[in-house]
């Protein structure tokens, strides 16, 4: 990895590999550019249940109205945004909120990884009134354990969120516990200049992908860059293969262990993956995703399946980066599902001042907050469709369209399933698969045995 040449490049690299799974997926690719288009009223269905009541906010400035109702005083916000750019973004939010309502937002920033690791004790100790977290099972888990506050009345005033986002924010009991703020998609990235030169076409089916891979190998490229030293990046590959082969509903059921891990359909995912492995970069377990991205950057690899944050590693050539969604495998299922993890805020169960906390959350979910974020943190896709996204780069625009047109959105394996299952079973399990792709039966049996003990 070469020395960063500009400040932006430098900032963009401030993502530790071990943390990337969490932070990077939210934010953190540089590039404050261009004009973008708003999402439009696309419906985003999400992993969760289907509570899509229409939001009934009538006042245009719903956010600030609610906020000014509880002006002055202080509210605390626990943040895992320890890197420079997102940290500044949050500070800007706090300042804007204070300017608008007079309430000070005391932001307690904890190093990214540490925040997540200590979440259990954090929530049971004396957490901040509001804290950053992720949508999906990860959110519903804490909600169901009674560690998060009910935000249904906040949602009653939020505008600009599609049904998909609302479902993503809903707990198992039908109430909302989460206010979404940003998100990003997972897709297959490539360098158009290389593809144009070699005459490659974007593959639309699995067979086309395989053929393309073979051609790339003949041309001396690594077809698909790959890294799984930290254990989580390969989950993206599993997710997309499962979504393509077995469909969104099966994937969600599998994540909830409504289907067994030794089901033949799951084995099919692994065997398809095993077929594709020769096209992937060898020895993934010793490589971090940043290093794999460098392979793409230095034109050694042809493609890389990762989240939008991969562009952090490619800041020198951002105009020469493009992506496509993973090709379809089963024509009956198509290719309109993808992973697009959503980040946002939750409220502690017993905040020091519930009214103020809810006021802050209402404002955070508003168009005003989204505008502030877009301006001060140019590396996100904001969740609120009412935000002014004229500052979006071409890549951000395309990402927003991709997610907007997707029929089904998953949150990524480690946010869609039980955290203990994801980190102590799936992570080593997938690493074991990558070491030994031949023993699929043994692997699935082991995964199922362990799943049974956790999903009691």
């Amino acid at each position: 990895m070469s020395r960063p040449r500009t400040e932006a490049e430098y900032l963009a690299r401030l993502i530790p590999p071990s943390v990337a799974g969490t932070v990077s997926r939210r934010t953190l690719f540089r590039g404050a550019m261009g004009a973008g288009a708003a999402l439009g009223g696309a419906t985003l269905l999400s992993a969760c249940g289907s509570d899509s009541s229409t939001s009934s906010a009538t006042s245009a400035a719903s956010g600030s109205a609610a906020a000014s109702a509880a002006g002055g005083g202080e509210v605390s916000l626990g943040s895992n945004q320890s890197d420079d750019v997102p940290k500044k973004g949050y500070q800007a939010l706090g300042d804007a909120y204070k300017a608008s309502t007079g309430t000070t937002v005391k932001i307690n920033t904890v190093q990214h990884e540490a925040f997540q690791e200590n979440i259990n004790s954090y929530l049971q100790g004396k957490p901040d009134d509001v804290f950053t977290w992720f949508a999906g099972y990860r959110m519903r888990f804490f909600a169901s354990k009674g560690l998060a506050g009910d935000l249904s009345d906040v949602w009653a005033q939020l505008q600009g969120y599609t049904d998909g986002f609302k479902s993503a924010s809903t707990g198992d009991d039908g109430k909302q516990y989460f206010v979404p703020v940003s998100y990003y998609p997972w897709a297959v990235f490539y360098r158009p200049s290389v593809w144009k030169e070699k005459g490659y076409q974007v593959p639309k089916t699995l067979d086309e992908l395989k053929t393309l891979g073979a051609t790339m190998q003949k041309d001396g490229l690594i077809p698909i860059a790959f890294a799984d030293k930290d254990g989580w990046p390969a989950m993206g590959t599993f997710d997309v293969l499962n979504l393509r082969i077995n469909g969104y509903q099966f994937h969600i059921d599998l994540m909830a262990h409504k289907v067994a891990w030794d089901d033949p359909k799951v084995k099919k995912v692994f065997s398809t993956w095993a077929e594709l492995l020769p096209l992937h970069q060898a020895d993934p377990l010793g490589r971090t995703w940043q290093e794999a991205a460098q392979a793409l950057q230095t034109k050694k690899a042809g493609m890389y399946l990762l989240g939008l944050f991969v562009t952090q590693q490619m800041t020198a050539n951002l105009d020469d980066v493009d992506f496509f969604t993973f090709p379809e495998i089963d024509p009956a299922i198509g290719a309109d599902a993808l992973d697009a993890p959503i980040d946002g805020f939750m409220m502690a169960k017993k905040p020091k001042d519930e009214a103020r906390a809810k006021a802050l959350l209402t404002w955070l979910g508003s168009k005003e907050a989204a505008d502030v974020l877009v301006k001060s943190d140019p590396t996100l896709l904001v969740a609120n469709s009412g935000a002014n996204v004229s500052g979006y780069t071409a890549l951000q625009k395309k990402s927003a369209e991709l997610v907007g047109s997707a029929k089904n959105i998953a949150q990524f394996l480690d946010r869609d399933t039980r955290p203990d299952f994801a980190s102590t079973v799936m992570l080593p399990g997938i690493q074991a698969f990558l070491k030994n792709p031949k023993d699929i039966d043994g692997l699935c049996k082991s995964l199922e045995q362990q799943a049974k003990t956790l999903f009691v």
Binding site: M1, R3, P16, S18, T109, Q111, A114, Y122, G125, K126
Partner: protein, 302 residues
Amino acid sequence: MTAATTQAAPTLAVPQNRRKPRPSRIALHSFLVVIALGWLFPLAWAVINAFRDYAFTSENGYVSWGGFTLTNFTAAWERANFTQHFLNSVYVTVPAVFLTLLLASGVAFVIARFTWRFNLVLLGLFTAANLLPQQSLLIPLYRLSILTPLPEFMSDSELFYDSYWVLILVNTAFQTGFCTFVLSNYMKTLPKELYEAAMVDGASVWRQYWQLTLPLCRPPLAALATLEVTWIYNEFFWATTLMRTGDKFPVTSALSNLKGEFFSDLNLLAAGSIIVAIPTLLIFFVLQKQFVAGLTMGANKG
């Protein structure tokens, strides 16, 4: 130190020709030189690279010479907020060492001075405590610390968790065993006549302890203090698991934060690591005798 006394003891069979080095001596010295250099090398390499500019090493690789600068140190100091973290280390280490020695000397005194049925049990409980694996105690300690409230002036989290107190007390509990063991051994060698005289004078147990025994225990206390400061300062397991607020982390856990931010700039990390290592290296060089004495007192009676 014992080494001096026994080493100087004259022996009957004096090796001939002390002046002319024998081949075996030369071989011995050469071997030791190689070993010493080999052992020193990894640390020396880290020190050298702490002084090297990252731009230089990323262009020329590490097998190169040049690119020396002091900026890594200043950058590391600021980015990792070392001032605050060193202070935190002081807040934890100094009280912990003091408390450990105080408590350990008390128990050691009782064990050494009086014969009691429970002496052996006590000694056993304390010594074994030091040897238990920390991970196996993590969960209950962490629950305990969350459940124990503290007044606000003692802890801004209002809990035992995430306060300096929890680190101080946990470290004390762990280190008391070793110190008790060493001190009791030492105190047992103090002549009983000392106490006889004191008893005749009507001195209370407390006075015997405080004015008689402790002053005489300066050597082991110094040795243990050196050791304990090093061990507690270097400790990072409890610090990372029982504390949540980044600003309160002692310096060794702060280093892992620095790693989080600058994982690719190895030179900067090397500078940060050297900064963290300096206090222990200093203590080691200045108080080497005490350090060695402390460890060996635990191993050797005396």
